[in-house]
Amino acid sequence: MRTPVSVKLVAGLGPRGWLAVAAVFVAAWVLVPLAHLMLPESHPLHISTYAITLIGKILCYAVVAVAMDLIWGFGGILSLGHGLFFALGGYSFGMYLMRQIGRDGSYGADIPDFMVFLDWKELPWYWSGTDSFLWCLLLAVAVPGAIAWIFGYFAFRSRIKGVYFSIITQAMTYAAMLFFFRNETGFGGNNGFTDFKRILGYSITAPETRVVLFGLSVTLLLGTLILGKALIASKFGRVLTAIRDAENRVMFIGYNPLHYKLFIWTVSAMLCGLAGALYVPQVGIINPSEMSVANSIEIAIWVAVGGRGTLVGPIFGAGIVNLSKTWFTTSFPEYWLFFLGLLFILVTLYLPEGVAGLWAKIKARRAEKAALAAARAEAAAVPAAPRTPAAPDSKIPNGTAAKGA
């Protein structure tokens, strides 16, 4: 029996991996701030505010993509509800940002503007404590986590899987979006939260704040990556991939898939919540359209483009898709949907392993060529020697593709 490729790829982080992590960390906290704050705007290495915000936003998306990869790539569960967890994290932290506006809103009231508009006199009960930074940060993790846990418990317990699970998560997200669109829900309805002024007392638009938020995004992404690698390399990860590939057999051996799925599902949702919490102060707005069905499916395409079951791949996937989105929507807005649609179709048809798989394939082919050349040379040297069998099995990744789909 073949070892699933995912396990081979992620056998720990290794010294080179840690070196890369350290390098990225230093770059994010030292080089980028320097390039943004110190260099004059005319300097070719200057990083503009636009770039910082855009990359910061994409980093948050990348965290979501990695979280999605954990559940989809390694658990074989396609969630169409990750947009909800992301938005819930954003809303939780957004409450803090709304409270930080204080009396600087258009109505100069103690409560957020939209509540004044609804003629509310005081904050509803679920807003209590939201003036505390830590409480909101906790909410940003706990609310998506709790909802994911409850939902996942019932879904996994009745062994809902495959497309059923996907559609049910989609229905959940859709219902939540409708709920948040209501003004009476108390989260700003259609407009959501916006016009933030401060975070922890610092101006939210100050370059220093942006740089810190950027650094935090990079840190969160690295942390997610390290956590993901550790999880996958552990015994837990082995059982999880086994459940993905043959759930019934794993059950027959005596494991209960419920716990494994539920754990990775909840962790994934909490990571999304954190990403949402970092996303909102950088983008400056959160509204119910973040929970739209289309958004959640787009998360899946980031992972698919990057390569499922590779953890690093989805980061590139999120980057590629979102950068092209930025480019298309400014240059050819009417063709963006064509591009995105074709991306969905072509990637699933011709690139089931994503960019990471393509990279692995190219590397494997090179190795094969090298081995072949070596064999030829050997054969030329010793004519009587038997042929070496063709080296690496180029079909290895299919193990993931066939079952993980």
Binding site: A175, V293, I345, T348
Partner: protein
């Protein structure tokens, strides 16, 4: 009762018996006076007189053509000046007529009186129209009461009479005579219109410490009457909600039938299914445009032509999708889901480029507009009735196709056990394409139906994929009966919840219900019996 009315009208001073050729001088004096109360009394008297002179004078009042010239009241009609009393031309025309002023309430009264006078018209249609207009808005009813009495006495028509009875009763509610009010309340209690209930409600309300209605008997009668009306309203209300629910359900059914087939046969969710609805709706739009430009005489029948066109266009698009994309993803249902989502995006954008991003206008043909009035508050629109019948027809055809044809047998065989079906010679690949085509075609039919009641735009399909999949989930895979029950049940339940909690909460409740439901029955209501393990 009649006697009472007569006495009452006589008591006002100028009874029906007092009709003369000329307008009474007291009335003219009242109109000419500066006091609005006097004017009001005079208008009431005119309304009551109800003869040709009074009608002319009222019309003139409403046109602001009445003036005072010296000691005479005149009607100014262009160059001519007429005597207000009898309409004779005055020669020579008096100098400097001073036109009299009306305030708003007076004007309302004049208009009401004019409408009421039309009740006495010879033309039956005009009488009916006038009666209906008064029913909708009567203004000051008490002043018109004598006129209603008169009209009722003359009226022979069976359609108009009940309306007049109701008008009379409504007008009598303001009467100072408690016995008259009691009678009126009892008459109104036989109605089953929400408007009448609204009229009766103030009678049993308290204003401060005292009741608005001083007489206890009348209050009691009003209470009974409201209860009786409520009882009748409840049933027609319920019937109305059930009907809108069934109508929503029949749309869901059309959307879900196709999905049930494709999901049943291939186990893939076609996320572009909603866009196939959109394709069908745009086909209807295209046929409408074609008929308008080429066959304007038959434009009312474009819907009939749109049905086959939409079926084949959507089926062609579906089969193309199956051949080019879905076929290559067999055994990877989650990736199929993503790829078909991509297809849906492409279709949406294509529709935007072809037809524009705005919604297009698809008109109901004349024979589908209007409705059947079953009760005061229950009217069934024709377009919805046609759609319910249409989805019943489609259901029948699909049932026959699935159960009585060789193709249907193959489709069922592949649904139940694909490898075994292949082993006994069913061409599974071709069946897949055909089944996908049929499912897509049915979605196209759903699109035609939808175009008659909803907006047609590029995004119209997006909202239906979750709903129709919910129907499939509820009903169980590959089960026609399940899909029918699930669609109708979901439709009716949604409409009742909407009435009770509002549209958004209703939607959320339904979704929550389905999520809980599949905890208990992951196979749906009507599960295929069998033992499968992967």
């Amino acid at each position: 009762m009649k006697r009472l009315l007569l006495i009452l009208s006589l008591a006002i001073g100028l009874g029906a018996g007092a009709v003369r050729a000329d307008v009474a001088p007291e009335v003219l004096k009242g109109l000419a006076s500066e006091d609005f109360d006097a004017k009001q009394g005079a208008v009431a008297a005119l309304a009551e007189a109800g003869d040709a002179d009074a009608a002319r004078l009222l019309k003139a009042l409403s046109d602001d053509a009445v003036a005072v010239a010296g000691d005479k009241l005149v009607i100014v009609a262009g160059e001519q000046v007429l005597d207000a009393a009898n309409g004779k031309q005055l020669k020579p025309a008096p100098a400097s007529p001073d036109s009299i002023s009306l305030n708003n309430s007076l004007r309302q009264q004049v208009d009401g009186a004019l409408a009421a006078l039309r009740l006495l018209s010879i033309d039956k249609a005009e009488r009916l129209a006038a009666a209906k207009a008064l029913l909708a808005d009567m203004g000051d009813g008490a002043a018109l009461l004598p006129l209603f009495d008169k009209a009722l006495k003359q009226e022979q028509d069976g359609d108009i009479k009940p309306i007049l009875v109701q008008l009379q009763a409504q007008a009598s509610l303001a009467s100072p005579d408690a016995a008259l009010r009691l009678q009126a309340v009892q008459t109104l209690g036989q109605s089953s219109s929400p408007a009448v209930k609204a009229l009766l409600l103030p009678l049993i309300e308290k204003q401060g410490d005292t009741f608005a209605e001083p007489d206890e008997k009348v209050r009691l009668a009003a209470q009974t009457a409201i209860k009786a009306i409520d009882g009748r309203l409840v049933w027609s209300d319920m019937a109305g909600q059930v009907f809108t629910g069934i109508s929503l359900g029949s749309i869901l059914l059309l959307a879900a039938l196709g999905l049930a087939i494709t999901y049943g046969v291939m186990g893939v969710i076609n996320m572009a299914h909603g866009e196939l609805l959109m394709v069908g709706a745009y086909s209807a739009y295209a046929m409408q445009a074609l008929f308008r430009s080429r066959f304007p005489d038959f434009v009312d029948y474009y819907v009939v032509a749109a049905v086959p066109v939409a079926f084949f266009v959507a089926a062609a698009v579906g089969m193309l999708m199956e051949r080019t994309v879905i076929r290559h993803l067999y055994g990877r249902p989650l990736e199929t889901l993503l790829a078909t989502w991509g297809l849906s995006l492409v279709l949406i954008q294509a529709a935007r480029l072809l037809f524009g991003a705005q919604n297009v206008e698809v008109a109901n043909p004349a024979w589908m507009s209007g409705g059947v009035q079953l009760a005061e508050n229950l009217s069934l629109p024709w377009n919805r009735l046609v759609i319910v019948a249409f989805s019943g027809f489609v259901l029948l055809v699909v049932w026959l196709l699935m159960n009585k044809t060789r193709l249907g047998m193959f489709v069922r065989a592949v649904t139940q056990n694909r490898p075994m079906a292949g082993c006994v010679g069913v061409p599974t690949a071709r069946i897949d394409t055909l089944a996908f085509g049929i499912g897509s075609g049915i979605a196209g039919l759903g699109g035609v139906a939808l175009s008659q009641i909803a907006n047609v735009g590029p995004d119209m399909g997006q909202g239906y994929i979750v709903d129709s999949f919910m129907v499939v989930v509820l009903g169980g895979v590959g089960q026609l009966a399940g899909a029918v029950w699930a669609a109708l049940g979901l439709g009716v339940v949604t409409k009742f919840l909407e009435g009770w909690a509002g549209a958004v909460i209703a939607k959320i409740l339904v979704l929550v219900f389905i999520i809980i439901f599949i905890q208990k029955r992951p196979q749906g209501l009507f599960a295929l019996k069998g033992r499968f393990v992967d």
